[in-house]
């Protein structure tokens, strides 16, 4: 191997070593815990039989999620939504508090805050014809 070729190899090795170091650093940095706040729509699950929603459809809510930054990076693209289970509710005005399970997030992600903390709903019996 000539001198100039060995210099070229050395340059290539150094460049790859820098790339590897940056990748290792990135993988460590992206494992750090971070937070992200998203505005998500609220969907109601199956309504109890013979009940209708008497109030307007619930507005979007703000949810703050914490967890490894690498998982938070693509979270806005995942289409996070709050699916509320109202199948066990009775008629009248109720306030449902969204829980972590309602957002269907990765197990490593935690819901830190939800604003507003409760979603007001009014359910009424459907009139029979």
């Amino acid at each position: 191997m000539t001198q100039s070729k060995s210099h070229e190899w050395a340059k290539g090795v150094s460049a790859l070593a820098v790339v590897l170091a940056v990748l290792i650093w990135l993988s460590v940095m992206l494992e750090r815990t971070g937070e992200i706040t998203l505005t998500v729509p609220v969907y109601l699950g199956q309504l109890p039989p013979g009940m209708i929603l008497a109030s307007p459809a619930p507005a979007d809510i703000e949810v703050t999620v914490s967890g490894p930054r690498i998982l938070l990076l693509l979270l806005p693209l995942h289409g996070v939504a709050c699916d509320l289970d109202v199948s066990a509710l009775g008629p009248g005005e109720v306030k449902v508090a969204p829980r972590e399970g309602n957002f269907h997030l990765d197990r490593e992600l935690k819901v830190v805050r939800v604003l507003p903390a409760t979603v007001p709903l009014v359910l009424a019996r459907a009139e029979k014809k």
Partner: protein
């Protein structure tokens, strides 16, 4: 002060990244040539794959890549156990010992030249400095050996097949022998000088190398630098001249 405190996180990250780059590049120097490129490329691909799998939450792929990454440390240790042992052995050497090694090259050269002068055996020895001499050399045999007086003397013995030419010393190693050098085109050079001296002058006019010439006619040694010939009277003065002209960094 406030600005410093505000940016301390960024500074810490930059320091972290710089140190990571330093550590990985230093470690990669233990590996040589295409093997180093392959290993670094594979490791980079594995780490990039880990990031990709994590980003897209591909659990199975992530487990597979993480297993490969974890076992690669052990695999590298097994593959390079000899090199790792050598590296630790080199670490324990002090700088003083390295300087002694540099001095050894000059001593071996001086000893060889003194012997060749005494026996009136012609010799041509090129010591590369800052500028590479490879592109000015014709023919030659690759050697890549430690510089020893015995080796130099045996190369220039008249019955040696590579005695007719120059030996080249690069980075403290005898890399080539039997090399033909370009002859000087200077018309003012004395006609009494033979081809060996003309070759020494010719090369030294083109590069900054130091060339030691032993005349088989007179049994004297001379040092040629920048096309100028300086006769040396005895081995100690040759050693002194070479130590002045050749810095340890050119012998590393």
């Amino acid at each position: 002060m406030n600005l410093f405190l505000q940016n301390i996180g960024v500074l810490r990250d930059l320091l972290d990244l710089s140190l990571a780059v330093l550590i990985v590049t230093r470690l990669s120097r233990f590996l040589k040539g295409i093997l180093a490129l392959r290993i670094l490329a594979v490791l980079s691909a594995l780490v990039a794959g880990h990031l990709f799998a994590r980003l897209l939450s591909l659990q199975t792929v992530r487990i597979l890549i993480d297993t490969c990454l974890a076992s690669s440390v052990m695999a590298l240790a097994v593959i390079f156990q000899t090199d790792i042992r050598k590296a630790f052995a080199t670490w324990t050497r002090s700088h003083t010992e390295k300087d002694v090694e540099m001095s050894d090259v000059i001593d071996e050269l001086v000893f060889a030249v003194a012997g060749l002068c005494q026996k009136r055996i012609g010799a041509l020895i090129v010591i590369e400095r800052g500028i590479q001499v490879d592109s000015y050399l014709a023919v030659g045999t690759d050697i890549d050996a430690k510089v020893t007086s015995e080796l130099i003397s045996s190369i220039f013995l008249p019955y040696s097949p590579i005695h007719d030419g120059a030996v080249i010393i690069q980075h403290g190693k005898l890399t080539k022998a039997g090399c033909f050098l370009p002859l000087t085109q200077n018309l003012e050079v004395s006609k009494s000088l033979g081809t060996r001296h003309r070759a020494a002058m010719g090369l030294s006019e083109l590069v900054d190398a130091v060339v030691v010439v032993v005349s088989e006619e007179t049994g004297t040694a001379s040092v040629v630098v920048g096309g100028k010939k300086t006769d040396v009277v005895d081995p100690p003065s040759l050693g002194k001249t070479l130590r002045r002209l050749v810095e340890p960094r050119w012998l590393k």
